[in-house]
Symmetry: C2
Subunit: 290 residues, 2 copies
């Protein structure tokens, strides 16, 4: 299976490498060619535009930053669907709007291209270790054909339904992460004020009903005052924005999401967009500064 690949950020670069190693020839496009050099040295071809990455391939994958990038990469003037012979399977693995996934699916369908949305969870570590959770939306037959790509990068691969369903499942994932992060920050803030040793507290709470991935993996970083990404605040603000937009569209009021969005927007506006999501602790500390 010859694969066009668009986007070689923290996630995309690791994932592309696994696909290449699994024996699928890659043709890569990315905004700054420098970020693709390592993959080009490993045998990938270079494409000047998204259209060129999709031209004549068996599938084209995108994993870029923002929904507007997804739109440009596929529906723009040099987008994959503008190719003379676009790849018959289009897979967007960016965390993006469910509604945009549906629009791309419709536009692609008119050209005989089957579009799949397949955002992932598991972070930089999951990408490096090919242990991602891949949340898939699209037509069953197309999803089946795309499976070699998903298996190359992921461990848990679940098909959730028609186009947009993968993005909806990712929203669910981020709702959980958001609340978990608020709990972890409030817990550590309380522990600090109460004069407790944070490491002993984590020992007490991590294995029982209060346990979570966040507590096991991010709370220790917070305790060490390590706020490096991991997962960027800027990207999480995007994800929470998508969650808010989609839930409002469905007439859903989610007060936990609303709170998380407010706190993370504050964090971004105070110049911490480039920190990791665990920097939420700083926002709660500042809220409580006297």
């Amino acid at each position: 299976m010859r694969v066009g690949w668009i986007g070689t950020g923290v996630m995309g670069a690791s994932m592309a490498q696994h696909v290449l190693k699994a024996g699928m020839p890659l043709r890569i496009h990315t905004r700054s060619r420098a970020k693709a050099e390592s993959l080009l040295e490993q045998g990938a071809d270079w494409a000047e535009t998204p259209a060129e990455a999709a031209e004549g391939q068996d599938a084209v994958v995108s994993i870029v930053s923002m929904p507007e990038d997804v739109q440009a990469v596929h529906l723009g003037p040099e987008g994959t669907l503008s190719a003379a012979h676009p790849a018959p399977i289009l897979i967007d693995m960016t965390t993006s709007n469910p509604s945009l996934a549906v629009s791309i699916h419709e536009a692609a369908g008119k050209l005989g291209v089957r579009a799949i949305d397949a955002p992932v969870s598991g972070g930089d570590v999951g990408a490096r270790e090919a242990r991602l959770s891949v949340m898939v939306g699209g037509e069953a037959e197309a999803v089946k054909e795309a499976m070699p790509i998903f298996h190359a990068v992921g461990k848990t691969i679940v098909h959730h339904g028609p186009a947009g369903s993968g993005q909806h499942a990712k929203v669910v994932n981020q709702l959980l992460v958001a609340s978990s992060m608020i709990g972890a920050c409030e817990a550590l803030l309380y522990a600090h004020r109460a004069g407790l040793d944070p490491e002993r507290v984590l020992e007490s709470v991590s294995s029982g009903a209060a346990g979570s991935w966040t507590i096991s993996n991010l709370a220790p970083r917070m305790v060490r005052r390590d706020f490096e990404p991991g997962f960027f605040v800027d990207h999480f603000v995007k994800d929470l924005g998508i969650a808010m937009e989609e839930s409002q569209r469905m007439g859903l009021s989610l007060p936990g999401l609303k709170l998380a969005q407010r706190l993370y927007l504050g964090l971004q506006q105070s110049g911490r967009g480039g920190k990791g999501t665990q920097a939420l602790l700083l926002a709660l500390e500042e809220l409580n500064a006297s």
Copy 2:
């Protein structure tokens, strides 16, 4: 070690049984004697009052419902400290106020009794399997003497500092549970509205960065519409009240806690105090009923 034991509710009954089986003779008092019958048949003695349960024993343990019960059991006219020869070690395992734990410690100290607060986490299952997390506050020497009791009921036993520290650690635990529960409910509500299969969604999200004890253990109950306790809403409302009272006392503003308290109070006021904490889903569904 001869142990006086006060309180044989869901948690207390299982825990007392483990202590008895570990070879420590028990003298039990509880509000309704019927709830102690099974333990009495297994060889425990009966005490008519908390004072009688504490009289001449090596240690006395309480695990009752509310902070006012804790106060009455130890400081009341028939309380453990009113005994002629009160047990020299007093252990309260109820989830109660850190400040009350300090008061009891002070009152006990005047009589030469060393008081320890040691609330637990792990629920009915953890109590039955003697796998609780025991969060301990008190003087190191007294804590050391009480260890046989903690080891009989728990798996993770952590000494957090002076009197009140165990209760503070339990507040931390409940802050995490509260946010986790909000996240789980919002996630399932969103998944439902988006037309996703909730079981497949749980498969996608449970093993990665969104994973938690709540998602693995309570979300499946929510999906089955099983709202039986587990852990009572009424008890959780008490715990959140303690968390709020203590954080306000320390001048801490915790917006996630505030939201959880508002939602759980609403749930209690609509007559769901006897349901399990996962019934929070009902509150969020009603918030979104058109």
